[in-house]
Amino acid sequence: MRRKPGHLLPIELAILEVAIRLRMQGASQFYGFLIAKEIKERQEARLLTAHGTLYKALDRLQRLGLLESEWEDPLVAAQANRPRRRLYWVTAAGEAALVPTAETAPRPVAQPRRGLAPS
């Protein structure tokens, strides 16, 4: 699908909005499954966002400079006996990208819906 440069899809807006809300709640960074779970709960969806949809959106947001990421310290993951998480955070550009959208368009996360998160 061809998109206008800078145009954000609903899933991308949802990621930014949920990430900013998480930060306001004290979680400055997030990882893929966490954001999928938060989006599911806020949208009251029955399923988590599909892997392909979620990670493609995260990748695109990074390439647009709206998110940054780094891999978790291996020792932290080893101590927790789990795979390393890729930790993301919203950049200043990411916050700025969300503000005009939130003022002019309906908030994707605020509207409960059934089914998968939008791709």
């Binding site: 892997h51 949809t53 979620l54 493609k56 080893a78 795979p83 890729r86």
Partner: protein, 149 residues
């Protein structure tokens, strides 16, 4: 781990291995590790919430199935970007298209057989599907957990 869950995880890992093949190592390993992390978190969260393994398996399968088109478009974009960065002059687009077609066929086969096997496992507790799931899980690349990754 139940047979159905092992099969769903194995199918997801196999699909990720397939569509990331041929990408630069850093990109390929990052995607595989990220999906492995997601699978682990999903499984542990389901266990914590005391959700039935069969339901978790179906959720994983749905996440795999509904994300295939995005996976393929991401693969094409990532491959294109990687080729541009490497400035490779050889024509890989035909090869890539062939790989994608083969990938889609294999993925559809895996999904159709997987859905059948999971349904069997859920309904009958079929030992054969359990063995298939375990085997598929074993054949899939080991997740790069631990301090070395």
């Amino acid at each position: 781990m139940s047979a159905a869950l092992a099969l769903a995880i194995g199918m997801t890992r196999s699909w990720v291995t397939l569509y990331t093949s041929g990408l630069p190592r850093e990109l390929r390993d990052a995607r595989r590790a990220e999906i492995d992390s997601d699978l682990w978190e999903h499984q542990r969260t389901a266990e914590f919430l005391d959700q039935p393994p069969g339901g978790t398996a179906l959720q994983l399968l749905a996440r795999l199935l509904l994300g295939i088109s995005s996976d393929l478009t991401w693969r094409l974009e990532a491959g294109h970007i990687a080729r541009s960065e490497r400035s490779i002059s050889m024509n890989e687009s035909g090869t890539m298209r062939s790989l994608v077609v083969v990938g889609v066929v294999v993925a559809l086969f895996l999904i159709v057989t997987g859905i059948g096997a999971i349904a069997d496992a859920l309904v009958q507790g079929d030992l054969a599907s359990g063995q298939a799931g375990s085997a598929l899980s074993r054949c899939s690349p080991e997740p790069p957990w631990g301090p070395d990754y």
